[in-house]
């Protein structure tokens, strides 16, 4: 089978093949990119998105992140009125410190676990020649372009959202931020937790200690802000996903969401999914589009 990006090229000359709007899929026909407005979606998710490993990793990070923030921030801002209020149910500052360290340990394990999952997954994809940059978390120029088009769409200057892969620009940015953030927090946190050992490790320990102090707190504030205002808005507040996007537990994404924000992934997966093809054909037919293989 040819790689996906090749088959995605729409066949010119077709009556409906407005190359931007329609997307040709063998055995289905031309799929309009805003078909998501007409498909059925189960809020719990229709199509697979994350493996069980990723779901577990997200869960671990989710729990440890909240715990770390809930213990770390009041310890750092001990002079503010809310600090003791948060710390009291955790058993006061002493036990909050212990909880903070244990959570950090679990987060590091989760990060390693993730790293291994990704490394093995990528390796096996590369081996099978199935690795597709388009569906990876690696940022490309296309993402910049997607941002531009998406903003134009939001402003009403374009009719459709860009066609995006498995991870759209938002997610790539967020993923990078998490990698950077976790790295910074682990390095700074260890510098603070093991002052004597790290004094031997860093070339300029005095300076490293200062930076670690600043970084650990500043990065924590930044990460918390991004998670609360950005990540939670994305997965909770967006109409259609309110009050909760279940992907983080089910590992599945709704059909509507996938077609809208990850169109290329949908099309790509469609080719190997006869049941989904059948379903899509029925929707297309209902909406009066021409289809192929229409013995449904």
């Amino acid at each position: 089978m040819a790689t996906s990006s090749e088959t995605l090229v729409t066949t010119a000359g077709n009556a409906q093949a407005d190359s931007d709007y329609m997307h040709y899929v063998e055995g289905v026909g031309h799929v309009p990119r805003d078909i998501y407005k007409h498909v059925l979606s189960d809020p719990l998710g229709d199509l697979p998105r994350y493996s069980i490993h990723i779901v577990i990793q997200h869960f671990l990070i989710f729990i440890t992140f909240i715990t770390l923030a809930a213990t770390g921030l009041p310890l750092h801002f001990g002079d503010l009125f809310w600090a003791p209020i948060i710390l009291a149910p955790l058993g006061g500052p002493d036990s909050a410190r212990i909880i903070h360290r244990i959570s950090a340990g679990i987060m590091i394990v989760a990060a390693l676990y993730h790293f291994i999952t990704i490394a093995i997954g990528t390796y096996s994809k590369l081996k099978k020649h199935k690795f597709n940059l388009l569906h990876s978390q690696i940022p490309t120029l296309k993402d910049l372009n997607d941002i531009k088009h998406d903003i134009r769409y939001f402003l009403g200057k374009e009719q459709y959202r860009p066609k995006m892969g498995k991870f759209m620009y938002k997610q790539k940015l967020h993923y990078l931020a998490i990698i950077w953030g976790t790295f910074v927090m682990i390095v700074a946190g260890s510098t603070l937790l093991f002052p004597e050992a790290m004094a031997k490790f860093w070339p300029n320990p005095e300076f490293a200690q200062d930076l670690a102090r600043l970084m650990h707190a500043d990065e924590a504030i930044m990460a918390s802000a991004v998670v609360v205002f950005w990540h939670w808005s994305n997965v909770h507040l967006v109409p259609g996903r309110f009050p909760l996007q279940w992907t983080f537990l089910t590992g599945r994404i709704t059909r509507e969401h996938q077609i809208e924000e990850h169109f290329l992934e949908y099309i790509d997966k469609l080719k190997d999914d006869p049941k989904e093809k059948e379903y899509l054909i029925s929707v297309l037919k209902e909406k009066g589009y021409k289809t192929e293989g229409g013995e449904v």
Partner: protein, 350 residues
């Protein structure tokens, strides 16, 4: 300043008694001159020259459990010779009182303390005997000692403040006079541990050492209490942790008087660059610390003048946070608007 604080002392003390923090016991009487005849009335007060109300009430119950309980009122207020009395002078903490120090059998005074202060960085005269610039900024006894902090130790089973009835029971086996027992119990036990929380000590110093003008006048490198609060020590102190070092633990050479603190530029000071690690490696703190470890900042104040790199680093993070979050929020906002009003268009201007 000290008057106002003294008034606060008595008011705070009064509240303590009302809350029945300490049992009110009428154990001793220093009131030979019958001062309390008038001063026992809680309403006794006057408006001073600055227009502030000055409370002249003395709570006898508190006075009687204070360190000075054996000192007669006139022992400190030496200028009062007759009753009713004339306006009084300020008390000199260094007067000799009628108390006799038992080991030397000399009349007692705090002159020794003053000698320590004179040798310390807080001395009003510099090492050539010349008055320091802005010597009015230097602390006197009353600047530092305006809080009644008298926290007897109870370590019969657990370390916790308060008089341990169980321990007193032991004294009663041999000693018969209740006031003797309690007085000496307090006398000794208050000195066996910290009488104040690290944060309380810091507060004593804060009124000068967090005053940016004073810091600048005396060319000090940092607002010391603020910068202490920026470190793990200060943060823990704020949670009333007593295991962390307070100002005295680091600035007082082991075994010397707390009144003899030296400048960190003085090579005899424990805070001197080469000596610092000795303070850190105290057996109760970080035994066996290295010089590198001791180089970590214990007064972490990252301002533009002293630590430009750290300062810009913080700024970078602020900009990074704002710079990522705001555009991201803008995108979310636009996305949301588009979802809520799918057909909205921006009207074109001509």
């Amino acid at each position: 300043m000290s008057l106002k604080r003294a008034a606060r002392l008595y008011i705070v003390g009064f509240i303590f008694i009302v809350l029945n923090f300490y049992p009110s016991k009428n154990l001793f009487s220093a009131d030979v001159g019958n001062c309390l005849l008038c001063h026992k009335y809680p309403g006794l007060s006057r408006i001073d020259e600055q227009g502030k109300m000055k409370l002249l009430y003395v709570n006898e119950d508190i006075f009687n459990i204070s360190v000075h309980l054996k000192v007669k009122c006139e022992g400190c207020h030496t200028d009062i010779k007759k009753i009713p009395h004339d306006p009084v002078n300020k008390v000199d903490c260094l007067v000799e009182c009628h108390i006799v120090e038992p080991s030397s059998e000399q009349k007692f005074s705090h002159k020794d303390v003053d000698n320590y202060v004179k040798k310390s960085v807080h001395a009003a005269l510099d090492k050539y005997g010349m008055p320091k610039k802005f010597k009015e900024d230097l602390p006197t006894c009353k600047n530092c000692h305006d809080e009644p902090l008298y926290r007897p130790l109870s370590f019969f089973k657990q370390v916790r403040p308060g008089i341990s009835e169980a321990a007193l029971g032991r004294c009663r086996v041999c000693h018969k006079k209740e006031d003797f027992i309690i007085r000496f119990y307090n006398h000794v036990t208050t000195r066996l541990h910290r009488t104040r929380n690290p944060i309380n000590i810091a507060e004593v110093c804060a009124r000068c050492h967090d005053d940016p003008l004073l810091v600048e006048r005396h060319n000090l490198g940092t607002r010391a209490v603020f910068s202490y609060g920026e470190t793990f020590h200060g943060k823990a102190a704020r949670f009333l942790d007593e295991r962390v070092p307070d100002c005295l633990d680091c600035h007082v050479n082991t075994g010397e008087s707390v009144h003899q603190m030296l400048s960190h530029k003085d090579s005899a000071a424990i805070t001197y660059r080469e000596n610092k690690y000795l303070a850190c490696s105290n057996i109760e703190c970080h035994p066996g610390t290295s010089q590198q470890f001791a180089s970590y900042k214990v007064h972490a104040e990252f301002n533009l003048d002293q630590s430009p790199v750290q300062y810009y680093f913080t700024l970078f993070f602020i900009i990074l946070t704002g710079g990522t979050l705001l555009p991201l929020m803008a995108i979310i906002f636009l996305d949301l608007i588009r979802r809520l009003f799918p057909d909205a268009v921006i009207p074109r201007r001509r």
